[in-house]
C-alpha cells in the first residue's frame, strides 16, 4: 500500500477528449472529394425506328477541327462568341409559338426551343480540352436560358434548383416540390445536344 501513496497516477481522464478532438479534426479537414463534371447522355446505338425529318434551319451545327477552330453554321467563329450564338439560336422562335422567348424571330433560324437541335461534331485529333470548352459553352447556353426563366417564374437560378433537387441530403418534401419546377423549366428549353460520330478526315 505505501506505493499508492508514494506516486499518484497521471490523470488520464482527459486522454479520451484529446483523442476525440483529433478524430473530429481529421473528420473535418479530410474532405471526401466529390467529383464534378459535365453530365451528358450518349445516343443509343440502335437507330430510331422511323426516320425523323428535321429541317435544316432547326439544326445548329458546330464543327471543331483538329486545330481547335470552330465552324458554326458554316462560318468560322471565335469560341468566346459561341455561347451567345447558341443562345440566340435556341430562343429564336421563328414560328412564334414560344411566348417566353426573346429571340429575333429570324425565319432562317430555329422554329422554337423544343425543335432546336445543336449538333456537335469533332475531329479525331481535336484536343479534349477544346472539346470540353465547347461542351461547356453549349451547356452554358442552355443553362443561361433556363436560369432566366427560373428567375422569372420562381426567383431563383435553375442550376441551383437542380443541384438542390439532385442532392440526396435535401429533404424529400422539398425535393418533390422542386421536381415539378425543374421539370417545367427543362421542358421549356429541352437539352437537345447531338453528338454525331466523329468525322475521320
Amino acid at each position: 500500500m505505501p506505493r499508492r501513496k508514494g506516486a499518484p497516477e497521471v490523470n488520464a481522464g482527459s486522454m479520451a477528449d484529446i483523442a476525440f478532438l483529433l478524430l473530429i479534426f481529421f473528420l473535418v479537414t479530410t474532405t471526401i472529394e466529390t467529383d464534378a463534371g459535365l453530365d451528358r447522355m450518349l445516343p443509343p446505338i440502335e437507330p430510331p425506328e422511323e426516320d425523323v425529318i428535321i429541317k435544316q434551319k432547326n439544326i445548329f451545327t458546330v464543327n471543331i477541327n483538329k486545330n481547335g477552330q470552330l465552324l458554326v453554321e458554316d462560318e468560322l467563329m471565335n469560341l468566346k462568341n459561341l455561347r451567345n450564338a447558341a443562345t440566340a439560336f435556341l430562343e429564336n422562335n421563328a414560328d412564334g409559338s414560344c411566348n417566353y422567348c426573346k429571340g429575333r424571330k429570324d425565319a432562317a433560324s430555329s422554329d422554337n426551343p423544343t425543335k432546336a437541335i445543336i449538333s456537335l461534331k469533332n475531329d479525331r485529333e481535336t484536343k479534349y480540352s477544346t472539346y470540353i470548352t465547347v461542351q461547356n459553352e453549349l451547356v452554358g447556353a442552355y443553362n443561361d436560358l433556363r436560369n432566366r426563366e427560373a428567375q422569372r417564374l420562381y426567383n431563383q437560378d435553375f442550376t441551383k434548383m437542380e443541384a438542390e433537387y439532385l442532392n440526396p441530403e435535401t429533404p424529400s418534401a422539398v425535393r418533390d416540390d422542386l421536381k415539378d419546377k425543374v421539370k417545367r423549366i427543362q421542358d421549356m428549353f429541352p437539352q437537345k445536344l447531338s453528338e454525331a460520330e466523329t468525322s475521320t478526315n
Binding site: 505505501p2 506505493r3 508514494g6 506516486a7 497516477e9 497521471v10 488520464a12 486522454m15 479520451a16 484529446i18 483523442a19 476525440f20 483529433l22 478524430l23 481529421f26 473528420l27 479530410t30 471526401i32 472529394e33 466529390t34 467529383d35 464534378a36 463534371g37 459535365l38 453530365d39 451528358r40 447522355m41 450518349l42 445516343p43 443509343p44 446505338i45 481547335g68 469560341l79 468566346k80 469533332n122 475531329d123 479525331r124 485529333e125 481535336t126 484536343k127 479534349y128 480540352s129 477544346t130 472539346y131 470540353i132 470548352t133 461542351q135 461547356n136 451547356v139 452554358g140 443553362n143 442550376t159 437542380e162 443541384a163 439532385l166 442532392n167 440526396p168 453528338e195 460520330e197 466523329t198
Partner: protein, 160 residues
Amino acid sequence: MAKFTKKKDGDLPAVSTASLPDIVFMLLFFFMTVTTMKDSSLLVENTLPNATEIKKLEKKDRVIYIYVGKPTQEYQSVFGTEPRIQLNDKFANVDEVGSYILAERANKPQELQNVLTTALKVDKNANMGLITDIKQQLREVNALKVNYTTYEGDAFNNLQ
C-alpha cells in the same frame, strides 16, 4: 525490500493505458475515412480540364471510372507516350472498355444497375479520337450516362 521501496519512491508510475482504446478507435476511424476516398493509383497523367457548368457526382457507388491520359514517367518506357486508357489498376485497350463496364455493372447491386454513370477522367491533352472510341464502346454496352469529370474553373483556361 528496501531496494523495492526505494525504487518506487523515486520513479514515475506506469503510464495509464486507460485511453489506449480511444487512440485505437481514433486511428481506426481515421483509416476508415481515408481508405474510402482512395480509389486506385493513377498510372496516367490526369490533369482535368476546367468547366463552369458542372454538376456534382453524388453517390460514389453509382459511378464507374475510366481514366485516360499519357502514361506517367515510370511507365513511359513500357507503354509509350501516347494517351492510354486505365481501367482499375491497369492499362487497357479500347476494346476492353465494354467488357469492363459490363463486369463493373454486374458487381453492383441489382437496383443500381440501371442508374450507373460512367465518369470519364480524361487528361486535357488527350485527343478526341480515343474518347470517341470509348464513347462508341459505351454505347454498345448501353452505358449512356456519362460525366466528363472536370475541375471547376474558367473553361477558357483550357485553351492555353
